[in-house]
């Protein structure tokens, strides 16, 4: 009996079987993700601790190499930083005065939920997509820490992307520079709507593409672009980046150009996940 089984399972039979399994999975994941979640749970139990470990070693190494920076360099940097502190102190005083004014104005407008007030959770980037085609990050917080799909992710003061996959111990963030990403955005000062879409070709040069801006809108280099109020997935008013080289399209109706992202995507180490999701009035 055993020999019979063995002679039945030739290499060609195995090949057919495995190809069928692949097609089964393609078909299944096309319609539903019932099997994805448990599979992710099992694999992540092995892979994620390892990834955290290797990532930790990498961080430790860079820390050590940073220590070797020469003392002279540090001294000159210290002097310039002291100078900067003095300047900033001055500036800060001015800002505080402004803030009082801002608060009173905000109270007047009842506009107290800018994104600095949202509840956020910090997460470390422990891995990136294994291929060269997509810009996704693996972060070390998952549904156990209250993360859900479609939560917005920021770093520093700029938009990184949104959570697209969640498992218990990790989640995957799709960056706005990803080739398949589209964000509805607007100009901060005039609230004109445009679309910011990632492009692999531009991402190499450090840009994202900006499209579908009305032809009659005046825009200059360095104008701030933030997430729009009509976006379905992104909270309003998160800084995306600064406009660059926006010109009128050949159709004379729309403008398009580039956008320099506010986040340095190459050296991203920690991110903040905003635990509030956009609720759209139906």
């Amino acid at each position: 009996m055993r020999n019979k089984l063995k002679s039945f399972f030739t290499t060609k039979v195995w090949l057919t079987l495995l190809v069928c399994v692949c097609f089964f999975f393609i078909g299944l994941t096309f319609f539903t993700d019932v099997l994805t979640k448990p599979l992710q749970k099992i694999t992540s139990a092995v892979v994620i601790p390892l990834q955290k470990g290797v990532n930790g070693i990498g961080l430790w190494l860079t820390e050590k190499s940073d220590l070797l920076v020469s003392v002279e360099e540090l001294q000159s940097e210290n002097a310039s930083l002291r100078q900067e502190i003095e300047d900033l102190k001055q500036e800060n005083l001015q800002m505080q005065e402004d803030k009082v004014e801002l608060n009173t104005l905000r109270e007047l407008y009842e506009l107290d939920n800018t994104y600095s007030d949202y509840e956020k959770v910090g997460a470390a980037v422990i891995g990136r997509s294994s291929d060269n085609w997509y810009s996704t990050f693996t972060i070390d917080k998952g549904s156990d820490d209250g993360i859900e799909v479609d939560m917005n992710v920021i770093s520093g003061n700029g938009l990184v992307g949104r959570v697209t996959t969640v498992s218990d111990s990790f989640s995957i963030v799709t960056a706005i520079i990803d080739d398949s990403s589209n964000v509805s955005a607007m100009l901060l000062n005039t609230s004109d709507i445009c679309t910011v879409s990632g492009d692999l070709q531009l991402a190499d040069e450090g840009y994202i593409s900006l499209q579908h801006l009305d032809g009659d809108v005046k825009i200059s280099d360095g104008d701030m672009i933030v997430t729009s109020n009509i976006s379905e997935k992104y909270l309003e008013g998160i800084l995306i980046g600064y406009a660059k080289d926006v010109t009128l399209d050949s159709n004379n109706l729309t403008q398009s150009g580039y956008l320099i992202p506010a986040v340095d995507f190459k050296h991203i180490k920690t991110v903040l996940v905003i635990k509030e999701k956009k609720i759209i009035a139906q």
Partner: protein, 178 residues
């Protein structure tokens, strides 16, 4: 069984290395090598069609499960690559490196090309020249460079395991004779 465990651990280690070190500090020209495809090809070449096929299947499954998208496409391509490399198993004994390395190069190029075709061309990204020169070819070159080291490494591990197997077989024969 021993081989199975070693392969399994290697796949996971290579995946972790690819996602962290090779996508971070060792990123050259914006691309990382495709370590798992390389491993699949080497195993297929050294151990035959069946081993290559299974290695490819599990590597691809790991990639697809952890990437959170559609599952099944990467394992399909990888297992075909493993099977294809296994067809050259007979040439393995000749102890030369040119054939496996050119096989890896070819598989990686084909994989990149098919991947572009399915995921990028279908979304109206028509600039094939750019994607060839910025992603597919650099990835191939980098993967080939890594293969030169990895091949020697896998070769020695495989030989060591072969020795252990042979010793055990000899022991069993002796026991039967006694």
């Amino acid at each position: 069984m021993r081989r199975f465990i070693i392969s399994f651990v290697s796949i996971i280690l290579l995946y972790v290395l690819q996602c962290t070190v090779f996508k971070g500090a060792l990123l050259i020209g914006g691309v990382a090598p495709n370590l798992l495809l390389m491993f699949t090809c080497i195993v297929g070449f050294m151990r035959g069609r069946r081993s290559g096929m299974f290695t490819g299947f599990f590597s691809g499954m790991l990639i697809d499960i952890m990437s959170g998208g559609m599952i099944g496409f990467t394992p399909l391509l990888f297992l075909l690559a493993g099977y294809f490399n296994g067809m050259f198993y007979k040439e393995y004994t000749k102890e030369q490196m040119l054939l496996p390395i050119s096989l890896v190069a070819m598989c990686d190029f084909l994989y990149g090309f098919i991947y572009y075709f399915v995921t990028y061309l279908m979304r109206n990204r028509l600039n094939l020249g750019y994607y060839l020169s910025a992603v597919i070819l650099p990835e191939m070159v980098y993967t080939v460079a890594v293969t030169i080291f990895a091949y020697i490494f896998v070769y020695y591990i495989n030989r060591k395991l072969d020795l252990i197997d042979r010793k055990r077989k000899a022991k069993n024969v002796k026991r039967e004779l006694n």
